[in-house]
C-alpha cells in the first residue's frame, strides 16, 4: 500500500531530550539506560526516543498515547515548533530538523498546517481573520484572503459566522474554525494535536465523522494525535501507539486489535468495540460457489459435505444468483424429485455486503442464518462470512 504512494512525512530516528545536557543523555540512552535512570543521573527528560515513521500522501496517521508519552512533542517536531535533539524529519524531502529559519518558515507557510487541542484561535480577530491568518502571513491581499476564508468556512459549514468573534462560538464550532484555518492555507499536511479532546463526547463523534467526510474529498495527509484509542481506530489508516517516548506498535486498526504487540497495547484494546474495528473482509473465508450451469442438487450436496458448509452461493459467471442451503436441498431430494435442480431450493433474497463493511452492521444480516456474501464493487463474489463467525470474531479473547 505504502510503496505506491508518495511519502509526505518521514521521520528518521528522531530523539528529543529536554534538559541542559542532551548529548550526554543521548549517549546514556544509546548505552541502554532507561528514561528513569537518565533522569536520575543527568536531570534530563527523554521526550521522544528513536521515533521513525513514514506517512504517505492522503493517509491519516494517528499517534496514540497517554499524557507524557511524548506524542505532543513528536507532532511539534514535524513542523519545527520543537527542534529534535537528533534525527531527521523530512517533509517532502526537506529536513526541517536541520534547516535555516527561512526554509522552516517556508515549509510552515506552504506545506503544513496545524490544529490545536484548545483551538488556539486569536481572540482579537474575527472568525474570518482567524481562518485567513496563514494567508495573511504569506502576504495575500485582503480580498483574496476573505474569499478563501469563506470557502474554508463553507467546508466546515460555518460560513455564516465569518464576522463573529471566537468567544461567541461554542467549543465544537471553535474547533471547526481551527480546522478551517488549517484547510484555508491549502497545506497538504495537516497536524492535529488532540483536536477533539476538549470537546463533549457527542460533538467529538460528529467532528470525527466530519473529518472523515472532509478527508474523502480533500485527501490531505493528516497526522492526528489522540489519547483515545477508539478515536485512533475510527480515524487512522495507520496507528502508532506511543509509550514513554517510543513507538510500541505501528499498524492498522485491525492489526493493533488483533495482534497487540505487548501487554500495554493489549490492555488498551481490551475494552474497545471490536465490531467497529473489524470488517467483513477480516472474517470472510474464500469464496466457494456453485455454478448454476454445471452443478446439480447432488453435486451441490457433495460440495457442501466436502467443504463442511451449510450453504453455498450460486453464481452464473460473475453474477450471484442466490444461495442454497444444505437443509433445503436435502429436503427437496428426499421428496423424491430425482431431477431436483438447484434453482428450486435457491433463496434469491440473500445478504450481501462489501469488504469494508464493519462487523456491527452484519448483526442484522447474520440473523437470517444464511452465509453473507462479500462482494467487490462490481458485485463479484469475493468471500463468504458465516453468521457464527461474525460473533466469534467479537468474542476472540485478548491474548493473555
Amino acid at each position: 500500500m505504502q510503496d505506491r504512494k508518495t511519502i509526505k512525512v518521514a521521520a528518521k530516528s528522531i530523539f528529543k531530550v529536554f534538559g541542559d545536557t542532551p548529548d550526554a543523555a543521548l549517549r546514556l540512552l544509546r548505552d541502554g539506560q532507561t528514561k528513569e535512570e537518565i533522569f536520575e543521573t543527568t536531570g534530563n527528560t527523554i521526550g521522544v526516543q528513536d521515533a521513525s515513521f513514514d506517512v504517505g500522501e492522503g493517509q491519516i496517521f494517528v499517534v496514540m498515547g497517554l499524557s507524557g508519552s511524548g506524542k505532543s512533542t513528536l507532532v511539534r517536531m514535524i513542523n519545527g515548533l520543537i527542534a529534535p535533539t537528533s534525527g531527521q524529519m523530512l517533509i517532502d524531502g526537506t529536513d526541517v530538523a536541520n534547516c535555516s529559519d527561512k526554509v522552516l518558515r517556508d515549509v510552515r507557510r506552504s506545506k503544513i498546517a496545524m490544529v490545536f487541542q484548545h483551538f488556539a484561535l486569536f481572540p482579537h480577530m474575527t472568525v474570518a481573520d482567524n481562518v485567513a491568518y496563514g494567508l495573511k502571513i504569506k502576504g495575500l491581499g485582503a480580498a483574496e484572503r476573505r474569499k478563501k476564508a469563506e470557502e474554508a468556512l463553507g467546508q466546515v459549514s460555518l460560513a455564516a459566522y465569518a464576522d463573529s468573534y471566537p468567544d461567541e462560538l461554542s467549543g465544537g464550532m471553535q474547533q471547526r474554525v481551527g480546522l478551517a484555518r488549517g484547510l484555508a492555507s491549502d497545506a497538504e499536511i495537516l497536524l492535529m494535536d488532540e483536536p477533539f479532546s476538549a470537546l463533549d463526547p457527542l460533538i467529538r463523534r460528529d467532528m470525527q465523522e466530519e473529518l472523515l467526510e472532509l478527508q474523502r474529498s480533500l485527501k490531505k495527509t493528516i497526522i492526528f494525535i489522540t489519547h483515545d484509542l477508539n478515536e485512533a481506530l475510527i480515524l487512522g489508516d495507520r496507528i502508532a501507539i506511543m509509550k514513554d517516548g517510543r513507538f510500541v506498535q505501528v499498524g492498522t486498526a485491525e492489526e493493533i486489535v488483533d495482534q497487540p504487540a505487548d501487554d500495554y497495547v493489549a490492555a488498551f484494546t481490551a475494552d474497545i468495540d471490536r465490531s467497529r474495528v473489524f470488517t467483513a473482509g477480516s472474517v470472510a473465508v474464500p469464496a466457494e460457489a456453485l455454478d448454476i450451469r454445471t452443478d446439480t442438487a447432488e453435486t451441490a450436496i457433495a460440495r457442501m459435505e466436502a467443504l463442511g458448509r451449510d450453504a453455498l452461493h450460486v453464481t452464473e459467471g460473475d453474477a450471484i444468483l442466490g444461495v442454497v442451503a444444505y437443509r433445503d436441498l436435502s429436503a427437496s431430494l428426499r421428496e423424491g424429485a430425482d431431477d431436483a435442480v438447484l434453482k428450486d431450493s435457491m433463496v434469491t433474497d440473500f445478504p450481501k455486503v462489501g469488504r469494508t463493511t464493519q462487523l456491527f452492521e452484519l448483526y442484522a444480516l447474520a440473523e437470517s442464518g444464511l452465509p453473507i456474501a462479500v462482494t467487490d464493487r462490481k458485485g463479484k463474489l469475493m468471500g463468504v462470512v458465516a453468521p457464527q463467525d461474525v460473533f466469534a470474531k467479537l468474542a476472540t479473547p485478548v491474548a493473555a
Partner: protein, 306 residues
C-alpha cells in the same frame, strides 16, 4: 566600641562628587544637553498648543474623549472639574502641567514599550533589566535631582527627564509581562503558520498584550503626575510650582488650590487611560450609531458585552 569604620572609611560621597563633577559634567555635558532637544521640541509644541486652545474648546474636546472612552459619567466629571480649575484661576498652570506630564508619558512609552518587548523576548536581558528598574523605582527622586541639574540645568525639560526616570518602570514591566503572558498555544499557532518574529509581534503578541500595556501606561501616567511638585524644585512650572510656592510662603490656600488642580487632572487622565485598556470590541459602536441612538431617544442597541 569597635566599628568597621575604625579600620576603613569609604569616602563614597567624594568619589561620586569626583565622578560627576570632574568627569561626567565636563566631558558629557554637551551630550546630555543634546538629549534634551527632542523633549524640548515636543514640550514646546504641546505647551504652546494647549495654552493657545480656548478653555471651552479644550474642555469640550476632552469631555468628548472621556465620553467615547470612559462613558457619560466621566465626561460630566471632566466638564465640572475643568470648569472648577478655571474658576479657581489655575487654568494656565494646569495646561503647563498637562503638557509636561503628557510629554513625559510620551517619551516613557517610546522608550519603555520597545524595552519591554525586548525583555519579553530574552530572559537574559530581563535578568539584567530587572535590578535597573528596581533601582529606578526605589531610589528617592531627590537623589537624582542634583546630578540632573548639573548635567541638564534647571527648568521644565530637566524636570521632565527626572519624571521619565521615575515613571518609566511600570510601562516596561507591564509590556514585558503582557507579552510573556500571551497564551503559549496562540504563539505556537502563529509560529506554525510561518510567522516571522515581527509578524507575530504585530498580529498576535502586541494586540493581546495591549490591555496589560495600557495598564502600565496608566501607572506611568500616575507616577508622572506624582512628580509634578518635586520637579518644581528644579524649576519646572505649572501646578507643581503653585504648590511649591504655597509651601515656601506658608500660603495654605495657594497650596491647596494647586493640589486640588493636580488631583482633578489625575482623576480625569486616570479614568480615560484606564478605559483605554478595556477590551475594545464592546465599544466598537460607531459614532454614527451612537448619535442615532441619542436622537432616537433610547439606548436601544447596546452591543452585547461578553
Amino acid at each position: 566600641m569597635f566599628s568597621p569604620s575604625d579600620i576603613l572609611t569609604i569616602p563614597l560621597a567624594d568619589w561620586v562628587n569626583t565622578l560627576v563633577r570632574d568627569w561626567l559634567v565636563p566631558n558629557f555635558r554637551p551630550f546630555f544637553r543634546s538629549l534634551q532637544w527632542p523633549i524640548t521640541q515636543v514640550l514646546n509644541a504641546l505647551d504652546g498648543f494647549l495654552n493657545a486652545v480656548p478653555m471651552l474648546l479644550f474642555t469640550a474636546v476632552l469631555a468628548f474623549v472621556a465620553w467615547r472612552t470612559a462613558g457619560r459619567g466621566v465626561a460630566i466629571f471632566t466638564v465640572i472639574a475643568l470648569a472648577f480649575i478655571d474658576m479657581i484661576g489655575l487654568w494656565p498652570e494646569t495646561m503647563t502641567t498637562l503638557s509636561m506630564v503628557v510629554t513625559a508619558v510620551l517619551f516613557c512609552t517610546v522608550i519603555g514599550v520597545p524595552i519591554g518587548i525586548l525583555a519579553a523576548g530574552s530572559d537574559r536581558f530581563q535578568a539584567v533589566l530587572r535590578p535597573v528598574l528596581d533601582i529606578m523605582q526605589t531610589i528617592p527622586s531627590f537623589v537624582y535631582l542634583v546630578p540632573i541639574v548639573m548635567l541638564f540645568g534647571v527648568g521644565m525639560v530637566p524636570g521632565i527627564i527626572a519624571t521619565i526616570i521615575f515613571a518609566l518602570p511600570p510601562i516596561v514591566r507591564l509590556t514585558n509581562l503582557g507579552i510573556r503572558n500571551v497564551r503559549e498555544d496562540l504563539v505556537e499557532a502563529a509560529q506554525s503558520f510561518g510567522s516571522t518574529r515581527w509578524q507575530m509581534l504585530r498580529d498576535v503578541q502586541f494586540p493581546l498584550a495591549l490591555r496589560t500595556i495600557m495598564a502600565g501606561l496608566n501607572q506611568t501616567l500616575m507616577l508622572a503626575l506624582s512628580m509634578v511638585v518635586i520637579t518644581a524644585l528644579i524649576g519646572a512650572g505649572g501646578l507643581g510650582l503653585t504648590v511649591f510656592t504655597g509651601l515656601g510662603r506658608l500660603d495654605v490656600g495657594g497650596a491647596t488650590a494647586g493640589g486640588i488642580g493636580i488631583v482633578l487632572l489625575a482623576i480625569i487622565l486616570d479614568r480615560i487611560t484606564q478605559s483605554l485598556g478595556e477590551p475594545q470590541r464592546m465599544k466598537k459602536t460607531s459614532l454614527r450609531a451612537t448619535f442615532a441612538n441619542l436622537f432616537s431617544g433610547g439606548r436601544a442597541t447596546r452591543p452585547t458585552e461578553a
